[in-house]
């Protein structure tokens, strides 16, 4: 009788725990899907070809999101131009050259800390370094370089892991045939790791495209009449545009549908880029 009772308690405890954990997971999913539904339901009415391809008009109460959308693409592209070479080179250094000593340990610690720095701090750093000290002004260049710094830890870690994953046997074979370290990197390590590195790049793009804080002080414009023609001009960017529509518009009630439309476009953009990266990573493993 006693043992039967305790068996029942243990069973019900087990059920309760299972239920609790399911609820936690469900709650998380519900939160995410509610947010997506919230954005989609309010944003989808304004989505049209014109919404994508027309610049904002009439104090941003009408028109589309062409200028900030292109601005975000420009910023992302330019920041990747800076992040990819530095990130891949650093990843290569860690994987192929660095030995385990005090210097490399400090370097690794620095990169890990960099990954945990709040994005607004990157913004202020970019303001003082690129905008003021280097004299690039508030511009697409300064904003892109700031975003590049933000994406750097991710890019370095992703490419280091990609290079480390290349089997040692390939390197052994190459060195035993009389290859130099650089020949081995170019002919064996890099080609084998390339697709994984590309995945890292895509994940970095997803990270950079949605950032607001780093670009507010460094090059994002409240409004520009047209697209930026040079990297020294300010640009509109989708995340900042959304912030502006939500807080600083002339007529917030009128801009609300446009705001949700812009959010929807940004969310879809970032989600699809990140999903592509995750899908590519899973396919590799």
């Amino acid at each position: 009788m006693m043992s039967r009772f305790s068996l029942q308690t243990r069973r019900s405890k087990d059920r309760a725990a299972t239920l609790l954990l399911y609820c936690a997971a469900l709650l998380l999913c519900a939160g995410v899907f509610f947010a997506l539904y919230f954005v989609a339901s309010r944003g989808w009415q304004v989505i049209s070809w014109e919404f994508i391809t027309e610049p904002p008009r009439d104090g941003m109460t009408a028109g589309g999101i062409w200028t900030p959308l292109v601005g975000t693409l420009q910023l992302t592209f330019l920041s990747m131009m800076a992040t990819i070479p530095v990130g891949v080179a650093t990843g290569l250094y860690f994987s192929e050259y660095a030995s385990d000593n005090a210097f490399t340990r400090i370097l690794r610690l620095a990169i890990r800390s960099l990954a945990g720095v709040p994005s607004v701090v990157f913004g202020l750093f970019g303001l003082s370094l690129f905008v003021v000290l280097l004299g690039f002004g508030s511009s697409m260049l300064s904003a892109s370089l700031t975003l590049a710094c933000l994406a750097l830890p991710l890019m370095i870690t992703a490419s280091e892991q990609a290079f480390m994953a290349v089997p040692k046997e390939y390197r052994d074979a190459s060195y035993a045939l009389g290859a130099t370290r650089w020949q081995t990197i170019c002919k064996v390590v890099f080609p084998s790791a390339a697709s994984t590195v590309v995945t890292g790049i895509i994940l970095s793009v997803g990270r950079v495209a949605g950032e607001t804080a780093p670009i507010i002080f460094t090059g994002a414009a409240f409004y520009t009449p047209g697209l930026a023609r040079s990297i020294f001009e300010e640009v509109m960017a989708l995340p900042y545009h959304i912030y502006v529509l939500a807080t600083a518009g002339v007529n917030i009630e009128q801009t609300r549908p446009i705001q949700y439309g812009a959010i929807l476009v940004l969310v879809v953009l970032v989600l699809s880029v990140s999903s592509l990266g995750i899908w590519m990573r899973r396919r590799r493993l």
């Binding site: 046997e169 052994d172 190459s174 045939l177 009389g178």
Partner: protein, 272 residues
């Protein structure tokens, strides 16, 4: 040198003649190898002869694989590895300061325990070495690829699919591909680290046959755990135990009348 001389005295004229006729290709003089604190090879001194097959036998961890990795200086990649004494290839100490390691590895090819073709086409696997040294002429590369594959007894099986991936071949074919890749740069010495331990008996037999052919053109040094294999394919056998060279001499002698009791015990399977 000393060991072979000793065994020659014991076994008579025939061996002594063989020993003096052949020229020394690889020699060591008091070679010590350390991995950090671990003393992996202890004062190893002996000579290996040109165009012969020398087999290294001994239990796991006895230092035989570490030894052959000294000959092409692959131990350089191991943090804390340190070599003292001399290792002579054609009379030159390869651990002397200023030695061109890249040039050395071109003269000393290596085949690894696990077949390790590059994830490239069969053709590109073979052409890898020659391309490193600047061979770009298509006809010349075609010729090298064909000759190397013929040498490695793989040509007939793969001649119609040179463009397909080397990793798609069977294990035995992959290992012959690796042998072809190693000889494509025409080294003088071929080091083989248990080249058949991951293969089935049929593939093993093919590779053993190949090794017997290869010694016409190369000095072969092979590490093996398989006593029969050492007896079948080698001219000379070196028995290592705990980092020491216990006995070295003609394979026929080592396997029939070893001087050291420990050699006999190991060969007959009493330990190891």
């Amino acid at each position: 040198m000393t060991n072979i001389a000793v065994s020659s005295v014991i076994t008579g004229r025939e061996d002594r003649d063989a020993g003096t006729e052949k020229d020394v290709h690889i020699g060591t003089r008091g070679l010590d190898l350390y991995y950090g604190e671990a003393h992996v090879l202890k004062s190893v001194s002996f000579d290996m002869y040109r165009s012969s097959v020398t087999a290294f036998i001994g239990p796991s961890g006895c230092g035989k694989s570490s030894f052959i990795r000294c000959v092409n200086r692959m131990n350089d990649f191991i943090a804390g590895a340190r070599v003292t004494g001399e290792l002579l290839v054609d009379g030159d100490d390869i651990y002397a300061p200023g030695t061109d390691v890249i040039a050395l590895r071109r003269r000393v090819g290596m085949v690894f325990q696990k077949p390790n073709p590059f994830p490239m086409s069969i053709y590109d696997n073979i052409a890898y070495g020659p391309r490193l040294f600047g061979v770009t002429d298509k006809d010349q590369l075609d010729d090298i690829v064909r000759r190397s594959l013929e040498w490695a007894a793989l040509w007939e099986e793969v001649q119609d699919k040179l463009g397909s991936s080397g990793t798609g071949l069977s294990g035995g074919q992959q290992q012959r591909l690796c042998i072809a890749r190693a000889i494509a740069t025409e080294p003088e010495i071929l080091l083989m680290d248990e080249p058949t331990s991951a293969l089935d008996p049929l593939s093993t037999a093919r590779i053993e046959e190949l090794i017997r052919d290869l010694k016409k053109d190369f000095t072969v040094v092979i590490v093996t755990h398989n006593m029969q294999q050492a007896a079948r394919i080698s001219d000379y056998t070196a028995f290592f135990l705990m980092g020491e060279l216990i006995e070295y001499g003609k394979t026929s002698k080592i396997f029939t009348a070893p001087d050291e009791a420990r050699t006999g015990d190991y060969i007959t399977g009493r330990f190891g």
